[in-house]
């Protein structure tokens, strides 16, 4: 069935600027699975940082630009749960015009976080891990509680060949990122992160997986600062051919 699937990558600002290797991994992975991938030009950011800080007119303007870019996309794949949530959950409400709103609803229906797309659309759950050894998973808040998705990342990780998946204690607790929260109340953000990383280290995992660029930035930044051996990676970086 995958032969006919087409998907557009919504790279997101953090993915574009800081984690391009994640985007590259996704494109190659999806192509190997027979998905025709394109990257509609003119993408910037989903507008979530503006929205969450209360700049809704500005976020709506960004959304109005983004929506038409994906007009012809069969599916839209997003490497971050939070950005996928923004598109699926908030874009429609930001559109005052009925026509745009309909288009936003349409886009919302066709937008998937990567793990969801793999499991629910491509129906591919079995991969070989690029990293051998023990891995664990952090539930990003927007994917878990925003999109109510705890399942698809675990479906993939539990079946991942060459890696041993262990649950992270309190995996559903926030990593302390929260966008501008991380610099508005950096001490609190860091205290929350410390708690998360202590749990990560207690698992004995060599690799911490997340499906959100924001969480990755926070957790990777904390791990590297404390000189930890644990690597924080995006799900896409782990998945090689079966």
């Amino acid at each position: 069935m995958t032969a006919s699937v087409r998907a557009s990558l919504m790279i997101t600002c953090l993915g574009d600027m800081f984690f391009p290797e994640v985007g590259v991994a996704i494109v190659r992975l999806l192509r190997r699975l027979g998905v025709a991938v394109d990257f509609p030009p003119g993408q910037t950011c989903c507008g979530l940082p503006l929205f969450n800080s209360g700049y809704h007119d500005e976020a709506a303007a960004v959304a109005r630009r983004m929506i038409p870019l994906f007009r012809n996309s069969e599916h839209v794949v997003v490497p971050s749960g939070s950005c996928a949530w923004m598109v699926k959950h908030e874009y429609p409400g930001l559109m005052k015009d009925a026509g745009l709103r309909r288009e936003a609803d349409e886009l919302a229906r066709r937008t998937w976080e990567l793990s969801q797309f793999l499991v629910r659309v491509v129906r591919k759950t079995r991969f070989t891990s690029a990293v051998k050894g023990r891995i664990t998973y952090h539930d990003s808040c927007h994917l878990l509680r925003g999109l109510h998705e705890a399942e698809t990342p675990r479906t993939i990780l539990k079946d991942l060949q060459g890696a041993e998946f262990v649950e992270l204690p309190a995996s559903d607790e926030c990593c302390g990122f929260g966008g501008s929260f991380a610099v508005r109340l950096p001490e609190v953000s860091t205290a929350i992160l410390d708690r998360k990383l202590a749990n990560v280290e207690a698992t004995g995992a060599e690799c911490l997986v997340a499906c959100d660029a924001g969480c990755l930035m926070q957790m990777r930044g904390g791990l590297s600062r404390r000189g930890s051996k644990v690597r924080a990676v995006h799900l896409a970086e782990l998945l090689t051919d079966e």
Partner: protein, 480 residues
């Protein structure tokens, strides 16, 4: 009313709390325990989810016709011989209670735990007219001894370890006291017993008031609520007007989920139902009963952006699961109501200016929504408050300029495309092995404790044309 904690900015208040290792220990133990107890309570209760939906629906419907239910409640309480007072503001509410206290001739008032009386700063006002307030809930008793404020909606002394409580008691009683909760409770009980008998005035909050029966409902665990409502000559209950429920059947729905959400109990130890003053032939109960209904900003939100916050049952579940509350505790928030719901209530009671910084004291993780018995969408309303703070010019101009600039860049692909090259240029002096360990200005707030990833040598957008060719290449290969 001035809040002494607010002299220091939120960030410093939070940092101070983070540096208190006793607080950290106390919060960690208590919130973890509450979380586990709540999870177990609902785990054993399959009808819980449906009841939560039903409770929410009751709240929605009740608030639609609140005026009608208030009239009904007033009629019923008056028919029972009680008095109902309506206070538009905290000042009015305080004045009403003080009038009742003066008229009763009371010198001492025993109180059961009540956030509403905290909200109107009643204790200081009672002292000022020569009425000694005595808190009889163990947690409240502890913080009254310590001259502090509650730091949690249902566990006011959650911030204290048992060792600290023992020290406090020892200082007060001038004798050795072991750090044993049972002994500490016994001491408090002995101290309080006399007060119950002496006091002429009993002051309580109320968890609910039932409109069609005129019943005021108190949910407690220590039995002190029952003493406060039955021993003194006069009983005053103080309640936010939104806590009204239409019927006893509705009440049962809330009772079925309240204690589970709060402490993980199936029901609290005591559920006290008060219907007016003592009637002829009854052996106990007050001669005089008053209910003070407080508006204090609530009614305006019936049609306002914070409407859903009026559904709150004050169970405290959102505090226990909040990653921010769990780190800094209640006092750092600076107002009567702490935690995620507390930010909304603070805005409701004190206006949007009061939450300029507090509205941002959340990572918007949404754990509160899942824990809330009536599923209040707290993050949504925090975002609404941030919007108000931004749009009304309450946020600092520097922040507003920064976000407008960001919006400008994100709205323009040509400008956005420059971000990669400019970022790479600017980061050059700061980058070490692909990460940035230290940056100036507000980005330094990030790098003080975390490395920042450097802007990639080539952004994804810059790599796309080569990637697109890969596909064409593969396509030609496979076609060959």
């Amino acid at each position: 009313m001035s809040e002494p904690e607010l002299a220091t900015p939120l960030r410093q208040r939070a940092a101070r709390a983070l540096g208190d290792r006793f607080l950290k220990q106390a919060l960690d133990i208590a919130t973890t325990k509450f979380i586990d107890l709540r999870r177990d309570a609902f785990g054993d209760f399959p009808e819980g989810e449906a009841l939560r939906d039903r409770a929410r629906a009751i709240k929605e419907a009740t608030l639609q016709s609140l005026d009608r239910y208030v009239d009904q409640l007033v009629d019923n309480i008056e028919r029972l011989g009680g008095h109902v007072h309506y206070a538009a503001t905290a000042d009015e509410a305080r004045a009403i209670v003080l009038d009742i206290a003066r008229a009763s001739g009371a010198r001492m008032a025993v109180k059961s735990k009540s956030m509403a009386t905290e909200e109107i700063h009643l204790n200081e006002a009672l002292e000022a007219i020569g009425v000694t307030p005595v808190e009889t809930d163990l947690g409240e008793y502890i913080i009254q001894l310590a001259h502090e404020r509650p730091s949690h909606i249902i566990a006011p002394a959650i911030h204290k370890t048992k060792g600290q409580v023992a020290e406090l008691f020892a200082k007060e009683l001038k004798r050795e006291v072991p750090a044993d909760p049972e002994v500490l409770t016994r001491i408090a009980r002995e101290e309080l017993r006399q007060k119950f008998l002496q006091a002429d005035l009993g002051i309580t909050g109320a968890n609910f008031a039932v409109a069609d029966t005129g019943t005021v409902v108190l949910v407690t665990n220590e039995g002190n609520g029952r003493m406060v409502t039955s021993l003194p000559r006069v009983h005053v209950a103080v309640m936010g007007v939104e806590k009204l429920v239409p019927s006893m059947t509705d009440l049962m729905v809330f009772l079925a989920i309240l204690a589970k959400s709060a402490t993980g109990q199936k029901l609290s130890v005591y559920t006290t139902l008060v219907r007016g003053p003592r009637r002829a032939g009854e052996l106990e109960g007050p001669e005089d009963f008053h209910l003070v209904l407080i508006d204090n900003g609530r009614i305006a939100q019936l049609a306002g952006p914070l409407r859903e916050a009026l559904y709150c049952l004050r169970c405290g579940a959102c505090l226990n699961v909040c990653p921010v509350y769990r780190q800094i505790g209640g006092h750092a928030y600076g107002y009567t109501y702490p935690g995620p719901i507390g930010i909304l209530l603070t805005a409701m009671l004190n206006g949007p200016r009061s939450v300029k910084d507090l509205a941002h004291a959340s990572s918007l993780c949404g754990a509160c929504v899942d824990a809330c018995p009536v599923r209040i969408d707290i993050p949504r309303m925090l975002i609404e408050l941030r919007k108000e703070v931004a749009e009304k010019g309450i946020a600092p101009w520097s922040e507003r300029v920064l976000f407008k600039m960001l919006a400008h860049v994100l709205g323009s692909p040509p400008l956005y495309r420059l971000a990669g090259p400019i970022g790479r240029l600017l980061q050059r002096p700061f980058t070490r092995g692909g990460v940035i360990p230290r940056l100036p200005l507000f980005l330094g707030e990030w790098t003080r404790t975390r490395d920042l990833p450097a802007v990639a040598p080539r952004t994804f957008s810059e790599r796309w044309s080569a990637l697109a060719l890969e596909a064409d290449h593969a396509h030609t290969e496979s076609a060959r």
